[in-house]
Every structure is written in structure tokens, then in C-alpha cells.
């Protein structure tokens, strides 16, 4: 297991080196490809998006200008007012997530809540959360993980379930793989993608050990009526054909203090979210009182997504 993973890392580093060589060339290509994924843009919009600065280098006024242009574009395209937020990271906040494996029943309520909140393409189907089913005793035996289980009722005896989504690594492999800096880690720890900078090379997808990034092979298929109009530039605003997308801890909600959609949807309350820097937060409680682990942590990615379970069933009834 260990050996295999080490090899994987080596391989990845090799790739990254090759990528850095390609970076310059691709970055050049990127600028010419950029506006092509929005063929309906007017010449002025085309011109402006062509010279759009990197999001992190824009002033608030510049961001507002870009967002205004995009809102008009979306309105033309979807015949619906879509509001794009640019809320910055809150100071003193590092987002973290906890998932209670002894509670999850594999019902996929979170999957669909996420699809609706975050405007994922319905057809072709894109789902940021994937729920894996394992036999008891087979925890993290990836070859035996089942994604397509479809029983009449959950939970099924003898199985448990593990939802996997972007792990919001502190040391993300994906962002380093990007030749155009279209994906990066924000100060509150959320790894984001700028869909107007992404050139769709999918290097980040190859670098992600969690399969958490998804590619729009076609024009996203979502009915205007189904679009959640409250969006964030770095989050759930409608995507384009040929860009990569992923979970952003519902940046459009959490930057305003709200819980993520999956936390609120989970019928068993297995999902916990909060500020890792706040000792009173529920994620910190889980870290301090439960057996926690992180997925493939030996790769050095340092996810901020923690899985946990109870120490022992007996303890639950004490008192």
C-alpha cells in the first residue's frame, strides 16, 4: 500500500516537472483559447474577457465590473437574473469539515442537495459528491468500493457508506498542476476554480487523488428554472463547456456564515462544518473527542475534510 502510494507521488512529481516545462507554452495558448468557450459573447465582452486580469489581482471595483458583465451574459443566455457574489474570505477563518461514518446511511440526499445548490449539470450528469459503499471490514479497500449500489432501502445490513467530495487539501496537488493558475487555495482554505481562466487541460483532475474534480465534456445541461440564482464567482455560477469544477464548501453560503447545503440536507446529521480555528466549533469537537482520519493522508495532501467514528458503542449509553 505504502510503496504503491510513494510511487504515485513520484509519478505525480515527474508529471509536474514536465508540466512546468509546458507551462509557458500552454499559458500562451490559454489566452487565445479563453473566450472561445463563450461564443455568444459580444465583441466588447469578448475583448474585455480577453484582457480580464487574474481574479486574485483584481481590485474590488474590477471584480464588480467583471461580475456585472458576467451577470449580463448569463441573463442573455438563461433569460434569468443570476446574482454573482464576490465575498472575500473572512479573516481568522479556516474551514473544515467532519463526516461521521458511524451515522451515514448512504441515502445520497447530500448528493442531490449539492447538485441543486451548486448548479451542477443534470445531463450530462455531474455530481460533486460520490457515495462509496463498503462491506464491513473492507474500509478503504478501494477496489471493492461500490458507487452504483441501488437497494430499496438504506442502510443495508453489513455495509457502511463513505461520501467523498473535494477534501480541500491544505497542500493541494491539483492547484500545482494547473498551467494557467486557474485554480488555487483561498485564505479560508477553500480550493477554487476560475471558470473564465480554466482552459480544460484536466491536469488538475489527474493530480487529484480523490477524484473530486469534474469536467464539462459538453455544454452543462441545466434548465434555467432549475438554476439557483444566488451564486459566487468562485463557486456555483453557471459553468461553461470545457471547464473543470468541484466542491467549494458552498462558498456562496459559507462566506456569508451559512452552513453548506449538504450539512443542512443530511437526514441523520452526519455532516459537520465549521471554523477549524475556533475551539468551540463542532468540527473541533469531533477532532478532539472522536477517532478521526483523513483520506490518503500519507500522500501529504493534508485534507481539511475529516472522517470520524465513535470510539466504542458502549460509551454512547453511559450517563
Amino acid at each position: 500500500m505504502k510503496d504503491k502510494d510513494e510511487k504515485k507521488i513520484e509519478k505525480r512529481e515527474l508529471k509536474i516537472n514536465r508540466r512546468t516545462l509546458l507551462k509557458g507554452a500552454l499559458a500562451g495558448a490559454a489566452t487565445t483559447m479563453l473566450p472561445l468557450n463563450r461564443a455568444d459573447a459580444s465583441f466588447k465582452d469578448f475583448w474585455e474577457s480577453f484582457f480580464q486580469k487574474h481574479f486574485r489581482e483584481m481590485t474590488v471595483a474590477e471584480k464588480q465590473q467583471v461580475v456585472q458583465r458576467l451577470e449580463q451574459e448569463y441573463e442573455r443566455k438563461y433569460k434569468k437574473a443570476i446574482q454573482i457574489g464576490i465575498e472575500p474570505a473572512m479573516p481568522g477563518v479556516l474551514f473544515g469539515y467532519g463526516l461521521d461514518l458511524s451515522r451515514c446511511i448512504g441515502c445520497r440526499t447530500c448528493v442531490y442537495a449539492c447538485v441543486h445548490e451548486n448548479n451542477q449539470s443534470r445531463d450530462p450528469q455531474i455530481q460533486w459528491i460520490q457515495v462509496l459503499r463498503f462491506k464491513h471490514g473492507d474500509l478503504m479497500n478501494w477496489e471493492k468500493a461500490e458507487k452504483y449500489y441501488d437497494p430499496k432501502q438504506v442502510p443495508e445490513p453489513g455495509y457502511f457508506y463513505m461520501p467523498v467530495q473535494c477534501q480541500q487539501c491544505e497542500n493541494p496537488a491539483c492547484t500545482r498542476a494547473c498551467p494557467t493558475q486557474a485554480t488555487w487555495k483561498e485564505p479560508d482554505g477553500i480550493v477554487v476554480v476560475d471558470y473564465n481562466w480554466c482552459i480544460g487541460c484536466r491536469y488538475c483532475m489527474a493530480a487529484c487523488p480523490y477524484g473530486a474534480r469534474h469536467f464539462n465534456w459538453g455544454e452543462p445541461g441545466i434548465k434555467p428554472a432549475d438554476i439557483n440564482p444566488v451564486t459566487h464567482y468562485l463557486g456555483n455560477r453557471p459553468r461553461y463547456r470545457g471547464v473543470v469544477e468541484k466542491c467549494t464548501f458552498c462558498i456562496q453560503r459559507t462566506r456569508k456564515g451559512r452552513y453548506t447545503a449538504c450539512v443542512e440536507a443530511c437526514p441523520v446529521g452526519a455532516r459537520k462544518f465549521g471554523n477549524l480555528l475556533d475551539p468551540k466549533s463542532e468540527v473541533r469537537y469531533a477532532m478532539e473527542h472522536k477517532r478521526t482520519f483523513r483520506l490518503k493522508d500519507d500522500l501529504g495532501t493534508h485534507p481539511k475534510f475529516f472522517y470520524f467514528f465513535d470510539f466504542e458503542a458502549g460509551e454512547r449509553f453511559s450517563g
Binding site: Q125, K147, Y149, Y259, V263, G319
Partner: protein
């Protein structure tokens, strides 16, 4: 000398402060922040208030199968337990704690807390059960009976949402 004394006092106080921090419990949420409980299943069939029948009825402490009324209430919870572990024999419109204190149906979680202290502590900390709203502000707590029916509390299995489309199924 004085400095040493202060150091010694601090040194002695340190473990105490740790013990204090470790024993600190999470506060009980404000009742306003707790989700409303669902209406009684048969509230519209004249089941509420309970006292309309019970105020004049003798209290029957015998553990038995109910035949005249509440036939649907079959305890699948705490073997050997009985209705009056939770319900108040003298005022049926309320619940009761082991201490004898009456509790309204809106605060049934206080009844659960007596036997499930550990889970209750985790519930207050936001770990067991669920809270919605703001991660950094006002939250609404689901209460125990929003998820566990008190007479048969095991969480019921449900129908899962559809599985993702297999790559092979994509045309």
C-alpha cells in the same frame, strides 16, 4: 520570595484550571433556537389535550398491552420501561423527570437527556443530530424527537436517491 510564592500558587492552580476546562459542558441551547416538534399524529382526532380524558381517569401503572386506547403505542425502547418513565401520571399534558419536575412536550429532550447523557452532551456540542442556519451565528437545533420517535426510537431506513449514471449507460 514574593515572586516564588506567586509562581508556586500559579503552579498549584494550573492543574485546577485544566480540570475546570475539561469539565466544562456546552450550555443548553435557548429554547427559541430549537426546532419545533412535529404535531402529534392524531392531534386532529381529539387526542389533545390529553387531560380531557386523563384528568378524570385512574392512573394505571401496570405494564400491559393497551387495548382500549393508544393501541398504536407499542414501546420498542428501553426494555422493562413504561410510559411513566417519561409521561407525567398526574398531569398527562406534560412529561416528567426522575426528579419529579414537570417538563412540557416542547422540551422532551430533557427527558431523553436523563438516560442518554453522553449523546445529549454531544447534541449540545452540535455533534449528535443536526443544526442548520449559520455556522458562525444563529442556529436551529433539530431536537431528538425530530429524528427519533420516542416509543420506537431506532432511526428508520429510507429509500436512497438514484445511483449515478454508469459511464456505460451514457449514450
Amino acid at each position: 520570595m514574593g515572586k516564588k510564592l506567586i509562581a508556586a500558587v500559579l503552579f498549584l492552580l494550573l492543574p485546577l484550571s485544566f480540570a475546570y476546562a475539561a469539565g466544562q459542558d456546552y450550555p443548553l441551547p435557548n429554547p427559541k433556537d430549537i426546532m419545533a416538534r412535529p404535531a402529534f399524529p392524531k392531534a386532529d382526532q381529539g387526542l389533545w389535550p390529553c387531560s380531557q380524558c386523563h384528568s378524570g381517569m385512574p392512573v394505571n401503572y401496570k405494564i400491559r398491552k393497551l387495548t382500549m386506547m393508544h393501541q398504536d403505542v407499542v414501546l420498542k425502547h428501553m426494555p422493562g420501561g413504561w410510559c411513566f418513565d417519561c409521561h407525567n401520571p398526574t398531569n398527562r399534558d406534560t412529561l416528567k423527570l426522575f426528579t419529579g419536575q414537570t417538563v412540557s412536550f416542547d422540551q422532551s429532550y430533557l427527558v431523553c437527556a436523563q438516560c442518554h447523557g453522553f449523546i445529549f452532551k454531544e447534541w449540545k456540542a452540535g455533534l449528535h443530530g443536526k443544526r442548520i442556519g449559520m455556522w458562525n451565528g444563529k442556529k436551529t437545533y433539530y431536537q431528538c424527537i425530530n429524528c427519533h420517535w420516542p416509543h420506537d426510537p431506532k432511526f428508520k431506513s429510507i429509500k436512497p436517491f438514484p445511483a449515478p449514471i454508469r459511464p456505460a449507460d451514457i449514450k
